[in-house]
Symmetry: C2
Subunit: 299 residues, 2 copies
């Protein structure tokens, strides 16, 4: 716990300390920890940074070519028209936004994310993106690495979006970031190989049970520790404690309106109807209260 | 080159030495090297070890239940009936073999591979699986890691098959192994989360252009060095030299019938008709001759 100065003494810090202690007797190859990103490693309010990124690009395009707002999805998004957005549905909105980058090179997309990350300021605090990262979680990642854990990110966000910032913000290499995957097409330009970003998802959005199958296919090891904050993380957290080893599931609760935000995570899990709070209690997950357990919130 | 004692002095070793030297001026985050597995890291003759694994399992099942040989794919495989195999086609044979593990847990599959790996003896030399690994390639992987490279495996073989042995044989963690992916289904058994192996491929076999798209979606970084030995590696090797950085493409040539095998790699690349030898010459790839460049072949 010396490595966790931003964690206040209490049951959450005790559970982490005990877990790190017990992990010493587990083979290094099985010391694996995965974190959700939005609302677990960084602040997701008032909006997901990735949505801000898409909206920034949409505004730029609309100022170059106002006719694109003829498209109802873009009109609804730019006009903050909640009713129209609800009518259109999240999927149509997401597909329209993904279409802004149709055909792009991976490098160009990464450069666009990096540009966005440099210019980002949080609407409430005016802070840059790297100040939206929760300091206690960074300390936990460091403590895990010190205990020879492999630390990865399993996010519902776009894989390339998170990879573009994961090394700088979290010290996590791209191959240890798994999110919602966009398909790529191989092509030749003047004979040279190239990749084109498509608008098609590979598989499904990386939420709920999809996080568990993605862990299997893309990372290959079951986590011994998993941390999340919403219903989309429930199956991954169960996965961490389902094996024979003493795994740890951490559920971060946003109950700190003063220093961050106070909001309930969506109630029901993806593959059953059990509310995530009840699941946490039934399965003995460790609940982390932002208000009570964290001395400092941000980096 | 002190780290490469199994490499004889010559153009291949010189090129590697120069590459390692020049990589010092490249940011660590871009130092990435990917190796093909079959015929690049280990011997693929007289048959792919993964095929031996499948046939072992098939023989075990047939001795428990001879009726499974009613299936023409299994009859052809067990009878080494080359005509029947050619008639049925590789895909039907592969699907039939994959079906042997339909519904298995990932852990059970990994355990089966580990059992196979322990019992394996090469038909010509009687050596175990870990003695089929090319010592010069292990040295190269170590030299790359010493130069702060991330080293991964991009294989046409099954992802889980290679992951089951990659840490022990090559020191490569599961998340750095990308191969042909089988789909998994999330399910609950007595309420507990579980994964079931399916017989459906996710996407396509990991060969040719698919290796480049898999590198993008699963690993996220373009290689600075890529090593392969067959047409299925051509696009990945091009990818290593396509960027603005001084990448290195290594093409291993099997020309050593005495110490290993002598055989031509299949001629044409997947996405164009250029034979791989011509491609190597045109693009300035470094050809590695097993007979001339390697002092020692096996570990």
């Amino acid at each position: 716990v010396d490595l966790l100065p931003s964690w206040r003494p209490g049951p959450a810090r005790d559970a982490i300390g005990l877990f790190l202690e017990s992990a010493r007797s587990i083979p290094v190859a099985e010391r694996v920890a995965y974190f959700d990103n939005d609302g677990t490693l960084w602040c997701e309010r008032p909006s997901y940074p990735q949505l801000d990124f898409f909206l920034d690009e949409l505004r730029r395009r609309a100022s170059d070519d106002p006719s694109i707002t003829d498209r109802p999805e873009f009109a609804a998004l730019l006009g903050y028209d909640a009713d129209a957005m609800a009518d259109l549905g999240l999927e149509r909105l997401a597909v329209a936004l993904a279409g802004l980058f149709d055909g792009w090179d991976p490098e160009a997309f990464t450069a666009a994310v990096e540009r966005f990350a440099e210019g980002f300021r949080h609407p409430r605090w005016g802070t840059p993106l790297d100040r939206l990262v929760y300091r206690p979680m960074l300390e936990l990642m460091e403590a895990l690495r010190a205990a020879e854990f492999t630390v990865g990110i399993v996010t519902g966000g776009g894989t390339e979006f998170v990879r573009a910032i994961s090394n700088q913000l979290y010290g996590v290499a791209p191959e240890l970031v798994v999110g919602t995957l966009i398909g790529y097409e191989f092509e030749r330009r003047d004979g040279e190989p190239a990749l084109r970003r498509s608008v098609e998802l590979m598989g499904v959005a990386n939420e709920g049970p999809a996080k568990v199958t993605a862990i299997q296919s893309q990372l290959g090891r079951c986590p011994l520790l998993a941390a999340g904050n919403s219903a989309g993380d429930a199956e991954m957290l169960e996965w961490a404690t389902a094996g024979g080893l003493p795994g740890l599931a951490l559920l971060l609760v946003h109950d700190d309106a003063e220093r961050e935000y106070a909001y309930e995570s969506r109630a029901a899990s993806f593959d059953d109807d059990e509310p995530i709070g009840e699941k946490a209690e039934r399965l003995g997950w460790v609940t982390v209260s932002m208000a009570k357990d964290w001395r400092t919130v941000f980096t």
